[in-house]
């Protein structure tokens, strides 16, 4: 006999039954329904993108104002790539959004943060964002078998990102692989000698910059009564707060607007190979602008046994690629030389995830590592919850905090 996977629905299988909730647009509170609501939602998305770009611009200006010409000295503690990596992990784990980390980093790079410090931070964002789906999987701990499958599905993303960083961080330190390729790509798409593509991108960048400038200047002016460096620091904090809020806002609206399209994408990928899984993961993540959301939504589906670990794995690889769009949008906050730097940071995130997919998922030997790691961890965690607790606290809090603490103290 062949094995037949459990047919029970997710709600019946999971220990914490999912309530029959529906997605609600924040604009429904205005009493809108149907087409006017859809129109208002799309307008809300446009406003959200506008505020996102403005907030990134604010961070760039704030960082310049706060550091003057000494950006490197401010981030001297993160000049050790492992510490910069852990800063990325901790920050992303704290805000539970890699899009926030990458957008903030794009702004900081445009404001003068050296790219060699930003690259490990962007890699850390990949690791930090996996905390969300791991925490979601903990909610299924009451049923041993569901928890085993759910925790494996969550940690396959952790293992994949850890393997990717273990390969590409040393390569970066030795050869500057991402720094060189992203620099070339940024020059080609925004530099003065980049040809037609650069002209088009620069044109878009200039228009966006002009449109977002008034709000950014207004917010900058509103905080100008503060002395330096506090003026700059408040601008950075304000920018981060705005990015956090607006990414949440965009996610809520886009989920409502594109849930049907996302379902179509997922339906079309069922029964197909891993490439289709990667493509659907990337597409759905681009639609909802959050890899945490797409990877978290798969956890109960994996826990119930409806989707196997092998099917979840390529989906999470695609989610990593899809989430890089936010940083690319954020890069349009700048023009001129700043735009090239911002685009370079955004391309670092994109290239890292594309290279990781090609190498870690593309090579059969490496492809098996996250699967084996996640299967093993799921097995031991289902038997002894301390493994799961140790993994969450160690990978996302303990080790990053310890490394940063040691470096700062020494």
């Amino acid at each position: 006999m062949t094995d037949v996977l459990p047919q029970a629905s997710v709600t019946a299988e999971t220990s914490a039954p999912a309530e029959a909730r529906r997605l609600v647009s924040p604009l429904e509170r205005l009493g809108l329904r149907g087409r006017p609501l859809a129109t208002a939602n799309w307008l809300g998305v446009a406003v959200g993108v506008y505020v996102l770009i403005t907030a990134v611009e604010l961070i760039g200006s704030g960082f310049k104002a706060a550091t003057g010409d000494s950006a490197e000295s401010l981030f001297a503690f993160a000049s050790n790539p492992f510490v910069a990596l852990m800063v990325g992990v901790l920050f992303t784990a704290a805000v539970q959004s890699s899009s926030t980390t990458t957008s903030v980093t794009v702004g900081l790079v445009a404001g003068g943060l050296p790219i060699d410090i930003a690259i490990p931070m962007l890699m850390g964002a990949n690791i930090g964002t996996t905390l969300t789906n791991t925490l979601v999987s903990l909610g299924m701990a009451r049923d041993k078998e569901s928890f085993r499958r759910a925790f494996s599905a969550a940690t396959v993303h952790d293992f994949y990102n850890l393997v990717a960083v273990a390969i590409f961080l040393p390569l970066e330190m030795m050869f500057g692989l991402l720094e060189r390729t992203s620099s070339w790509l940024a020059q080609a798409t925004s530099g003065s000698d980049g040809g037609v593509v650069a002209t088009v991108f620069s044109g878009i960048g200039s228009v966006v910059d002009t449109v977002t400038e008034p709000l950014a200047a207004g917010l900058e002016g509103a905080t100008s009564f503060l002395p330096d460096p506090w003026h700059g620091i408040v601008m950075i904090v304000l920018g981060i707060g705005l990015i956090l809020a607006v990414i949440n806002w965009l996610g809520r609206l886009l989920k409502v607007l594109l849930v049907g399209r996302a379902a179509q994408v997922l339906h079309s990928s069922v029964g197909r190979g891993p490439i289709s899984g990667i493509a659907s993961g990337a597409a759905v993540t681009m639609m909802v602008q959050s890899s945490s959301t797409t990877t978290s939504l798969m956890i109960p589906l994996a826990g119930s046994g409806t989707f196997s670990l092998k099917q979840i794995y390529p989906f999470t690889v695609g989610a990593n690629i899809g989430t890089t769009v936010t940083a690319l949008i954020a890069a349009f906050a700048f023009s001129g030389a700043e735009a090239t730097l911002a685009l370079q940071a955004a391309f670092v995130h994109l290239l890292f995830n594309v290279f990781a997919a090609l190498v870690v998922f593309g090579l059969p030997l490496l492809r098996q590592l996250p699967l084996r790691g996640a299967t093993w961890l799921g097995d031991v965690a289902a038997t002894n919850k301390l493994w799961a607790a140790g993994w969450v606290l160690g990978v996302f809090v303990g080790i990053p905090a310890l490394l940063i603490g040691i470096t700062v103290l020494l």
Binding site: M1, T2, D3, V4, L5, Q7, S9, V10, A16, A18, E19, A20, R21, R22, L23, V24, Q96, T132, L135, V136, L138, G139, A141, K255, V259, A262, A263, L266, H267, V270, G271, V288, T293, T294, S296, L297, I299, P300, L301, S304, T306, F307, N384, K385, L386, A388, A389
Partner: protein, 99 residues
């Protein structure tokens, strides 16, 4: 075979070619091959049915995507309950060797 035909029992002169032991063996082998092939085909059909069922279940879950997206958030009460359970497990583990 019709009902009037004799069932081969042992080889010997005067018997039809089909009743010779080597032919019986060949017939058995042929039957075995047919049964094995039928079994493999049946397994294949079962696998395909299982795959169809699996895909139907997946499509059914995707049809509930809105609900799944709405639920794709961290429930802090569950996270807290998990860590409380883990703490209890840790305490129990520490107590057992002492006893």
């Amino acid at each position: 075979m019709s009902g009037t035909e004799q069932v081969p029992t042992a080889g010997g002169p005067g018997r039809t070619p089909a009743e010779r032991p080597e032919d019986v063996l060949a017939l058995e082998r042929e039957l075995e091959r047919i049964v094995t092939a039928a079994q493999a085909e049946l397994d294949q059909v079962r696998r395909e049915i299982a795959e169809h069922r699996r895909q139907d279940a997946q499509h059914a879950e995707i049809d509930r995507l809105e609900e799944h997206l709405a639920n794709a958030t961290v429930r802090w009460s569950e996270v807290r309950a998990f860590f409380e359970d883990a703490l209890v497990q840790l305490r129990d583990g520490a107590r057992q060797p002492a006893e």
